[in-house]
């Protein structure tokens, strides 16, 4: 491995970089420089980063190299430069949630998750683009322009494609080898759907595994951070570094962090895999249906028993999600008012109310405004019970569906998204069509369950498709293991041709 040139280094994942740095095959600084170069070269074409922080990546790498030289123990992520979704507060580095209202906002504090990653020896390549306040499925709601997927259809048309959302900067950057791994957050599919669209792997752990402290909130009861990387092992390593109880987050799980990497085991003998019949919808994309069947065959091959299960309230999940998430968002985003930080629009002679209106009209994009309006409406007097209370009941029923299904199986297998990546602009006029992208992802979010997407193959257009594994609460290991079994059999080696 000593003769790796820089482009070779950027082909490596988390585990390979960590072991190469630890064994002295290359230095952490060499790795950081290689990725820094890729970040810079791809920025104009892909727009994956809002801010690049090459110096931070180098500083962290130098620290790791120095530690190694002194013979000190190295952390779980030592020498691995990563991308940080711009929803995580980072000390001294602008944190925007891809919004105008937070443009220029530089926190004096570090999110718990990013702090844990730096402590584990990771370095920051930059802040990754996303849908504004993580609201979107295509990355088109970013104030800083959309991310372009590195993937293209095989029709020669070169239509720019969506990298998925909201963690679209993360997915595009990993697929394009701008970083070996990145943080994502998932409220209703924001890790899994972009992972599926770009042929990478991403896991949303059980709600509460990763601290939300210092992560710009979208919908508190759903938001959950997780790793995105090129394979299951890398996700396990990075999740171990991110997870853990945080007394600063009341919803944080007070449980020890399992050794997921050590526990990886693709032998599924004795395990049951549930196939939810309600997910097989009329008019399902044929390629998606085929990849699902492939997944079933692979898991059978890995020793699992396939079980038909029912999640009867699935069809109510998306409507319930689009009540609960906007309701929480409408309240969570009230703090962006122009008073203390961020954008302030104070027209001449205006009063406080005028300032609020002007600031928030200018500072929030159309999709964010839409969701604030929906959320405000469903919480308002006279509508609260009909919408919010009802949606919470649905949420309870969905959680019960899963609990009952998990009496018959250990994990559930389903497609991640109803289709492969769509073209940018294709769904922007029809929010409902856009929301439907999350139809398979949202139920696990509402139930707070761990769920991951692993690449399953390419569709007839040459675009990646993902398979989703949903596990029992706290059983990330079961999810990772099933993911690993698929990974080993899918043998997904496709990568986007470099056109940028």
């Amino acid at each position: 491995m000593t003769d790796l040139n820089s482009s070779g280094l950027t082909d490596l994942g988390v585990a390979a970089i960590r072991s190469g740095v630890a064994s002295g095959d290359f230095t952490a600084v060499e790795v950081a420089e290689a990725f820094n170069a890729n970040v810079a070269a791809a920025q104009d074409a892909l727009n994956a980063f809002i801010v690049a922080t090459p110096d931070r990546a180098i500083e962290a790498a130098q620290a790791v190299d120095a530690k190694r030289a002194k013979g000190e123990a190295l952390g779980k992520m030592a020498g691995v430069p990563i991308g940080m979704k711009d929803l995580f507060a980072t000390v001294g580095v602008q944190t925007t949630a891809a919004s105008h209202i937070l443009e220029g906002f530089t926190p004096q504090y570090e999110s718990t998750v990013s702090a844990k990653l730096w402590d584990a020896g990771a370095g920051m390549l930059g802040k990754l683009n996303l849908d504004q306040f993580a609201m979107g499925s295509s990355n088109e709601t970013s104030y800083f322009g959309n991310v372009v997927s590195p993937w293209r259809r095989n029709d020669g048309g070169n239509a720019p494609l969506a990298p998925g959302g909201s963690s679209g900067g993360s997915s595009a950057a990993i697929a394009a080898r701008l970083c070996p791994a990145a943080t994502g957050t998932d409220t209703g599919g924001s890790i899994r759907q972009p992972a599926a669209f770009t042929g990478i792997t991403g896991i949303k752990p059980t709600y509460g595994r990763c601290s939300r402290w210092g992560v710009v909130a979208f919908a508190s009861s759903l938001d959950q951070a997780g790793p995105m990387a090129r394979d299951v092992t890398d996700c396990a390593i990075m999740l171990e570094a991110m997870a853990g109880f945080d007394p600063k987050d009341s919803t944080s799980l007070n449980l020890p962090v399992p050794e997921w990497e050590k526990g990886l085991n693709a032998d599924l003998s004795g395990k049951g895999v549930g196939i939810p019949r309600e997910y097989r919808m009329d008019g399902m994309d044929a390629d998606v249906a085929k990849s699902w069947d492939d997944g079933i065959a692979w898991l059978k091959d890995a020793g699992a028993t396939i079980v038909d299960v029912s999640l009867p309230h699935t069809k109510y999940a998306l409507p319930a999600y689009y009540i609960i998430a906007p309701a929480e968002a409408s309240s969570n985003l009230a703090r962006y008012d122009g008073v203390r930080y961020g954008l302030r629009d104070l027209p001449d002679g205006s009063n406080l109310q005028d300032m609020y209106a002007a600031t928030r009209a200018a500072g929030f994009g159309a999709e964010v405004r839409r969701r604030i309006l929906i959320g405000t409406y469903v919480l308002s007097a006279g509508f609260y019970d009909a919408y919010y209370t009802q949606a919470q009941k649905v949420r309870t029923l969905i959680a019960r569906d899963f609990a009952q299904a998990f009496e018959q199986c250990d994990v559930i297998l389903a497609p991640t998204a109803p289709s492969a990546a769509f073209a940018l602009g294709e769904n922007t006029e029809d929010p409902l069509k856009m929301y439907l992208n999350d139809v398979f992802a949202v139920p696990a979010s509402l139930a707070g369950l761990p769920a991951m997407s692993v690449p399953a193959g390419l569709n007839r257009e040459g675009l990646p498709l993902g398979l989703q594994i949903i596990g029992k609460a706290f059983d990330e290991q079961g999810v990772l293991n099933a993911g690993l079994a698929i990974e080993q059999r899918a043998n997904f080696t496709a990568r986007p041709g470099k056109w940028w």
């Binding site: 995580f88 507060a89 944190t95 949630a97 937070l102 906002f105 926190p107 004096q108 504090y109 999110s111 939300r212 402290w213 210092g214 992560v215 710009v216 909130a217 919908a219 508190s220 009861s221 007394p247 600063k248 987050d249 009341s250 919803t251 309701a327 929480e328 409408s330 309240s331 985003l333 009230a334 703090r335 008012d337 008073v339 203390r340 930080y341 406080l352 109310q353 609020y356 405000t376 919480l379 308002s380 007097a381 609260y384 919010y388």
Partner: protein, 500 residues
């Protein structure tokens, strides 16, 4: 329980006033309800603001155990139901002193349920009988910050020191029927809070404020429409608010108008209330459960700890003073009125009993009388409170021991107290130095008595002729001749014998 006879005489007959109070009491705690920031009164603006209090992006609330403990103890002190399961809700509205854009409160599931307190009979105050006032609930919530309008010609400044400080909202039933009852309720509640130590009750510093709900009706009718007068900050103003508001409502109704359900403000300058906003302009607060917080679940050990830490409460203490210590109702109620007074008295009582080698019950009257009739008066003249008294309970006990043992008389004790307050010296030292020891030697007193009787032969004649009232004159003359140092008992006995 009899109904109060307080009535407003209108042109159409008598009107009854119905009053309910919502008292906001700032919880005594070193830190805020959901952040670690300090809560001291009077700090520099914005010196006690954490990232959570300023609602920075990604910040999360974590409940402060001490604040919950204090609210539970308060609930126990009013014999209320403590809800082992309660929940925090968000009350959403925009204002510059509310950084989150919502107040974390408890609408649906408060910490403390149904309780009550008893206001005592007080003829002078217009309360012929004791009365039980129902308390509907106590919930905990965040206080807002403060706007400062006098710092800049065109802008308002925001001080967030108070933002996030814990409040208890104590909501009474509409059980009060006169300003006197309402005043007594606030005073009694304040007394209990101070005993429990859950609120300092400093109304002038705003740590206890009242929202006063008032309506009027013809006796026996249904409740009328009420108005709510906000943030009234003294017992006197609460009573003035009710008097003015009830009279205003009677005027409106008798001239054919209707009472508008509205929020009003009390103007201490004029003693009147004025409209702030009507129900139509009322905010839609869009209450919903705070998704950043889990339900608050209290275990038995916590409740047990709360109960065990409760002090003797005023009603029990007063009963004990009357029953076990044999104090008069008046003295018992004066000594228990404020927790600091009771504390001072009990130290004095303990020291006095020890100094005289007696049981507390045997010296209680002496101690109580001296504290109430001597020390209070003396301190009053000096403009000092009991807490600022230059005479400590121990030195008070020293003085009382001199009286108890007959070393000095009660009237000499008054002089000694004055000297003690002046010089800070102890009673023994002063009595020694000034030669104030009482003369009990029968021979010396007999000699003086004979001198006096000889010099006032005419009066002796009159006395023996039946003018018994002259006895006091002989006592006075004898004491005067002995510079007050004659033992009054001995003087009396000798005089009686001599006058035969």
């Amino acid at each position: 329980m009899t109904e109060s006879t307080y009535r407003i005489q209108g042109a159409t007959g008598e009107w009854e006033v119905v009053i309910g109070l919502e008292v906001h009491a700032q919880v005594t705690s070193n830190s805020k309800l959901f952040s670690g920031a300090a809560t001291e009164f009077g700090a520099e603006p914005n010196a006690q603001v954490s990232l959570v209090d300023a609602a920075m992006p990604g910040m999360l609330p974590v409940p402060n155990r001490e604040c919950i403990r204090q609210a539970v103890r308060t609930g126990m002190a009013i014999d209320a139901q403590i809800n082992k399961w309660s929940r925090f809700d968000r009350k959403n509205y925009f204002y510059a002193d509310l950084p989150q854009g919502y107040q974390i409160s408890q609408l649906y599931h408060p910490l403390v349920g149904e309780g009550s307190l008893t206001i005592d009979a007080d003829e002078k105050a217009g309360l012929p009988e004791a009365k039980v006032i129902g308390i509907e609930r106590i919930h905990v919530e965040q206080d807002a910050g403060k706007l400062m309008h006098d710092q800049h010609p065109t802008m308002s400044y925001v001080d967030l020191n108070r933002s996030g400080v814990a409040l208890m909202e104590i909501v009474s039933r509409p059980d009060m029927r006169s300003p006197a009852e309402a005043g007594a309720y606030v005073a009694k509640l304040r007394q209990i809070l101070r005993y429990v130590g859950s609120c300092d009750g400093n109304m002038d510093q705003g740590s206890m404020r009242c929202d006063v709900n008032v309506s009027v009706r013809k006796p026996g009718d249904e409740f009328g429409t009420r108005t709510e007068t906000k943030n009234v900050n003294s017992v006197r103003f609460v009573m003035a608010t009710i008097e003015h508001e009830a009279a205003r409502q009677v005027d409106v109704l008798e001239s054919g108008g209707k009472i508008v359900q509205e929020t009003r403000l009390f103007d201490p300058g004029t003693g009147t209330t004025r409209s702030m906003r009507s129900k139509e302009d009322a905010h839609d607060y869009r209450y919903f459960p705070d998704p950043d917080l889990l339900p608050l679940v209290l275990d038995d050990a916590f409740l047990e700890d709360c109960r065990n830490s409760l002090p003797e409460l005023p009603d029990a203490k007063r009963a004990r003073y009357e029953g076990d210590l044999g104090l008069s109702t008046y003295n018992a109620s004066v000594l228990t009125a404020d927790v600091e007074t009771a504390r001072w008295f009990e130290r004095l009582l303990g020291e006095t009993a020890t100094a005289q080698g007696k049981q507390p019950a045997d010296v209680a009257k002496q101690a109580a009388n001296w504290l109430i009739s001597e020390l209070f008066g003396a301190l009053n003249k000096l403009g000092k409170s009991l807490e600022e008294s230059p005479v400590s309970p121990a030195s008070g006990a020293e003085l009382l021991a001199l009286v108890g043992k007959g070393t000095i008389s009660g009237s000499i004790a008054k002089q000694v107290l004055e000297k003690m307050l002046e010089t800070g010296d102890g009673a023994n030292a002063i009595v020694e130095r000034e030669g104030l020891k009482q003369e009990s030697d029968t021979g010396a007193i007999e000699a003086k008595v004979e001198e006096i009787l000889a010099a006032n032969a005419d009066k002796v004649e009159q006395y023996r002729g039946g003018k018994q009232a002259l006895f006091g004159f002989f006592v006075g003359q004898t004491m005067k001749a002995m510079q007050g140092k004659g033992n009054p008992q001995v003087v009396n006995e000798i005089l009686k014998t001599k006058l035969g």
